[in-house]
């Protein structure tokens, strides 16, 4: 009797879609005072990703930080040809604090790809991306996908101060028209953004919203969307344990079929229909 027929070494391709792999750190840089970009060398098996999906990271144990649970992190970029996977993250607490200590050449254990990513529906021809803070990380691969699908793209990037607005060059490289706003400049509040976006709907014919990183902006887009009959998608966050749908830790209430249902952010999300988020 073979003792454990199921144990397929990860080096051999197997038919399972979620993988636990050790990845070597290629580069790990500060993007600005708060954010870091982590580039991993990743096997082909985990690079069948979609924009909006995430990985669950086993942050290292350090002298100062001993995280126990994994930490969810959106895919910032994935490149099958170069065998690269990257994350853009903000140092927030124990887990990301430990993550920040990783040096090139060291290894990181990741599980993924996980969750349901963005869907660019056929009828959505002129998408508007509205990102705040770390939401930029989540929307970056979507911008790349829009470029690939030949959708002219407009992106509003918001942050506390102009120097914290990231990745605008990356967005421009995907052909996006980029508008940056910042709290410090007084143009990032709902009162300023609403007329700006309604202007874009008129001038650019925006017909879909994609957003991540701010509940306030999501609510604003829900209001504008209802007014103009525009749909879209949003990537949301929730505390997680398993990340793959087993534990029910990460539920939030959503509007489905006229009623409120609890859905798992890690499984039914993290991307949801803009108008179903309660």
């Amino acid at each position: 009797m073979p003792a454990s027929p199921c144990v397929v070494p990860d080096s051999i391709p197997h038919p399972y879609s979620i993988h636990e792999v050790e990845c070597r750190v290629k580069t790990h840089d500060r993007v600005n005072g708060e954010y870091r970009r982590l580039v991993l060398s990743a096997p082909r098996s985990v690079l069948d990703c979609e924009p909006g999906q995430f990985f669950h990271l086993l942050c290292p144990q350090t002298e100062g930080f001993q995280p126990y649970l994994r930490r969810p992190m959106s895919i910032y970029s994935y490149d099958r040809i170069r065998g690269e996977l990257s994350f853009l993250y903000k140092v927030a607490g124990t887990g990301t604090g430990a993550l920040a200590s990783l040096q090139p050449g060291e290894h990181l254990n990741i599980v993924g790809p996980l969750g349901r990513g963005f869907e660019i529906r056929r009828e959505w021809r002129r998408p508007l991306l509205v990102a705040r803070g770390v939401g930029l990380a989540t929307l970056a691969p979507l911008a790349s996908e829009c470029a690939r699908l030949g959708r002219p793209l407009t992106a509003i990037c918001s942050a506390r101060s102009p120097d914290l607005v990231m990745s605008t060059d990356l967005f421009r490289s995907f052909g996006a028209e980029v508008i940056t706003v910042a709290d410090a400049e007084g143009n990032s509040d709902v009162g300023s953004l609403t007329p700006l976006i309604e202007g874009l709907i008129r001038t650019r014919g925006i017909d879909a919203f994609f957003t991540c990183g701010s509940t306030r902006l999501m609510r604003m887009l829900q209001v504008i969307g209802s007014r103009h009959g525009i749909g879209g998608q949003v990537a949301v966050e929730q505390h997680m344990a398993c990340g793959i749908g087993m534990c029910q830790a990460c539920v939030r209430p959503f509007l489905r079929d006229g009623g409120a249902v609890n859905l798992r952010v890690c499984r039914e999300g993290p991307v949801f229909d803009l108008h179903e988020v309660l």
Binding site: M1, P2, A3, S4, P5, C6, V7, V8, Y16, S17, I18, H19, E20, L58, Q66, P67, Y68, L69, R70, T94, N109, V111, Q238, H239, M240, A241, C242, G243, I244, G245, M246, C247, Q248, A249, C250, V251, R252, N262, R267
Partner: protein, 312 residues
Amino acid sequence: MADLRTTIGGLTLKNPIMPASGTFSEELTEVFDLDCLGALVTKTITRGKRSGNPVPRVCEVNGAMLNSIGIPSKGVSWFLQNTLPLYRDYEAPLVISISANTADEFARFAEEVSVPGVAAIEVNISCPNIEDDGKAFAMRPGATGDVIRRMRSATHLPLWAKLSPNTGEVVEVAQAAEEAGADALITANTMLAMAIDSRTGRARLGNIMGGLSGPALKPITLRMTYQCARAVSIPVIGCGGISTVDDVIEYLVAGARAIQVGTATFISPSTMPRLIRELDEVLDARGLRSVDALIGTVDVTDEAVVVAECVR
């Protein structure tokens, strides 16, 4: 290659490794072939629909976690129609964990889930007994015996009673379950605990209190496993903080005939297949031909220097 088989009541498992309720679901099929497991154990279900507790439902503490998921459930008919068929093609026996508010409801529920495809019923008696001031059944031998007895006459499926570390009467509860006809015991569920964010002063779970699981729980549930394995003659299944093959061996040595893996699967979803492989390797390395050769072998003789009887 050693013989990893183990027998729990009437059921022979091909190895002693199975998931703990609430830390496993069909989604794990996307990580490995579930048929390598000794058994499959579902998240606890209730007959009616329930929504579970407010978020945050989990938080981490010193190398362990707390959860207050509660028992969100889509109800029994949804389960029978939608979940059960998912497991039809696996040869690993399916164990259904159920919970109810009264002994009667437990019995009726047991009858309802005694259908083809279900190999055993795990009885989650850590839920409040509404006929006993909301004290969990598992807190008291009387309430535990009562539930198991009523279920026993309602189903012919093996009944596995899952004990709680929150009671002061572990051994009495175990014996009451055995006497009432349980086929196996699981030691144990989570321990009631709490965490506060020292910076904000906020309780870190939406439900304020929750269950401790993971490595910090192991010394407590290992002790319960030892206590129960000595006190009853039905099989005991160890559960609590298992993540390494050494943990598995310690539970077997303490008297467990099988073990359940919970939180470790969250940390590494491929924990269970790894443990099966490593257990096989350890048995081989020690020249042991079967898992049975380890079970209950704990050495408690006292070779150590005994202290002087009298202190002066």
